[in-house]
């Protein structure tokens, strides 16, 4: 088992990379801003505010998926199964919501199901040392089969009516601020939680003992093991934690966005989240920025259709996917993943 030693200049290199990352983000923000000013001039400021609010909403599952990916990959385990985790959680949340008529139970069940399926990924890739990409693919296929089967078996005659979605929360003072209020503080609970989680995960990753250990295991598991960190246990923990976060992302689809489940309804958001994670260089804020970019790509077409501009939905719908390819092709070569990503850790 070879473990690559980090190069000496790593720290300085990372500093330069951070700068480049911020420059990149600035660049995209400038483009987005220009677009928004244009739409504002064209359709009035209300349109701009609505686009920004929709951006935050649409970015929610991508943000949560990317945070799940960060949890897992920072300890050195690729998680290509986030799509499957979100799909399963979307279904389980919906199912429990239908049966209990309680959105809180549904939310908890969705997160638990994400964590449970993530545990399978952890077991396959850590304990059984299955290639992590294959293991994640297994999770994805399993999720499609499981949700498809249960959906048809349980709700063959259509879902019972009466299930609602989580209500919009209007935070008292902040919500009435001009511009920022309607964009940030009149969102639904999962969308707001996602933003809070970005901040929390950033702090946890870079300011706590857990974060230090997580990063150490992801960069150089042997060194972490030498100083007494239980590498595989931490990997298990982080993957399961990521699963719960992805589960929250899945809950967005059926408990916050629309009150019903459709087969394959996550529609690649889990994979796009991985692209956002890579583009954001495995940092919570970077990933959030990238997720917002994807959010804009979804929000602008929606807004255009609302304004009566007619573009075939198949063409407009391509935007996030093509953007993902551009982002991955443009960012991967220069982004540095955690050094131990993809390599099972075996104690010598």
């Amino acid at each position: 088992m070879t473990v690559a030693a980090p190069p000496i200049g790593l720290v300085r290199e990372r500093g330069r990379e951070t700068l480049r990352l911020w420059l990149q983000i600035l660049f995209w923000v400038a483009i987005a801003f220009a677009l928004l000013v244009l739409t504002g001039l064209q359709f009035g400021p209300a349109a701009t505010i609505s686009i920004l609010a929709v951006t935050i909403t649409k970015a929610t599952p991508i943000t949560l998926g990317a945070l799940a990916g960060i949890c897992s990959e920072r300890t050195g385990v690729v998680n290509i199964g986030i799509e499957g985790l979100m799909l399963t959680a979307a279904f389980v949340g919906f199912m429990i919501g239908v049966y209990t008529k309680n959105l809180v139970f549904a939310l908890v069940a969705a997160m638990a199901s994400g964590a449970l399926l993530a545990l399978l990924h952890a077991a396959l890739s850590i304990t059984f040392r299955v290639d992590q990409i294959i293991s994640g693919t297994v999770v994805n296929i399993l999720a499609v089969g499981l949700t498809g089967y249960l959906n048809r078996q349980l709700f063959a005659t259509g879902a019972p009516p009466g299930l609602s979605v989580l209500p919009r929360i209007d935070i008292p003072v902040l919500g009435s601020l001009p511009w920022i209020g309607p964009i940030l503080f009149q969102q639904k609970p999962i969308a707001m939680t996602a933003i809070v989680l970005v901040i929390v995960l950033h702090f946890a990753l870079f300011r706590t003992k857990w974060g230090l250990r997580t990063r150490a295991v992801g960069e150089h598991p042997l060194a972490a093991d030498t100083v007494g960190v239980n590498v595989n246990k931490l990997r298990y923990m982080n993957i399961v934690l990521g699963g719960a976060i992805a589960g929250l992302g899945g809950a967005y689809f059926t408990l916050e966005s629309v009150p019903h489940f459709e087969p394959l309804m996550t529609n690649g958001r889990g994979f796009i989240a991985l692209a956002a994670m890579i583009f954001g260089k495995w940092t919570p804020f970077g990933a959030w920025g990238a997720a917002l970019l994807f959010g804009v790509a979804e929000a602008i077409p929606t807004a255009m259709q609302l304004q009566g501009i007619n573009i075939p939905f198949q063409i407009v719908g391509l935007l996030p996917y093509i953007l993902t390819i551009v982002v991955v092709a443009g960012a991967v070569g220069r982004a540095t993943p955690p050094a131990a990503v993809g390599i099972p850790y075996v104690r010598a």
Partner: protein, 366 residues
Amino acid sequence: MRVLYSLGVPLLAVFTALVLGAVIMAATGGDILKAYQGLWEGSLGRPQSISETLIWTTPYIFGGLAVAFAFKAGLFNIGVEGQISLGALASVYVGYAVKDVPFPLHAILAIVVGAAAGALWGAIPGFLKAKTGAHEVIVTIMLNYVAIQMTSFLVSGFMKDPNPLIANAQTPKILQSARLPPLLPDPQYRLHWGFVIAVLAAIFIWWLLNKSTLGFEIRTVGANPQAARYAGIAVGKTIVVAMAISGGLAGLAGALEVVGLNFYHTAGFSVGYGFDSIAVALLGRGDPIGVLPSAVLFGGLAAGASRMQFLSQIPIDIIKLIQAMVLIFVAAPALIRWIYRVRVPREAEAVAGDVQFSAGWGKAET
């Protein structure tokens, strides 16, 4: 002995998945006996079912070959779904829009163009991987969505059947001169020449990988890109070629479905072939010949599924679940060893030739 072991794990994997499938069906209130009776009748129990099984087997052979071939180059092609769809789209266009070409030529042209479309769609992630290091897994998945949306756009617009009686989003039927004849004279068997072509393709791919220079280069790149580079192999070029061949095989799957079976194309026609192909390739241990029996198994499950649903009212989707469980056990033979307390030597455990896909997120080759 080793042959026995390498057969033992897949067989036990399939058996265990079928048992677990029964448990799930029983737990959700299904009639297991009727279900498996239906599965048997619909897949192998009657001559006509065997014909249907082999019809389903055909695209699985190509899809499995596509994934297995990319495996050998150390690449994970999850884009089979999109490549099949575009292959079918290109093939159907040639089939109905190109006129006055006599029979065998027109069919061959439609097949070749379909394969070329798949190859082109496969070459894009290969090129991006070689040039920029973009991981083929993300790019191929995204290209699936692009291909599927493009198909849906074209078959409901530019390529839609002009016949006003047809409301569905589907293309016109291809001309008689572009259709492959059925394999058997009796019209109740729909089995077409595509199946024979698929088996020949498996043999050809085996030869290509194991007996040709290109195959040697591909296997070397897959086993160790650094060593390949030192040996003077153009790694980037090999990656593009391998992905193009892989995509071409998937394109053939789509083309042969069009010229041999459906004669037209519609949106959402190949939902699921892509992911199933990964399972077929893994079950076949990433070997072109091994893909054949595993494609027959998946073909049988798919063919039997509708009869199963008819007899037992258990949704077809249970098959997907069983396939996923097969995949889990094949990917993690240690689970099988643990369940059955059998000893499998480590070297017989290698999945897909022990290629590792996930070390980092890739680097540019040039």
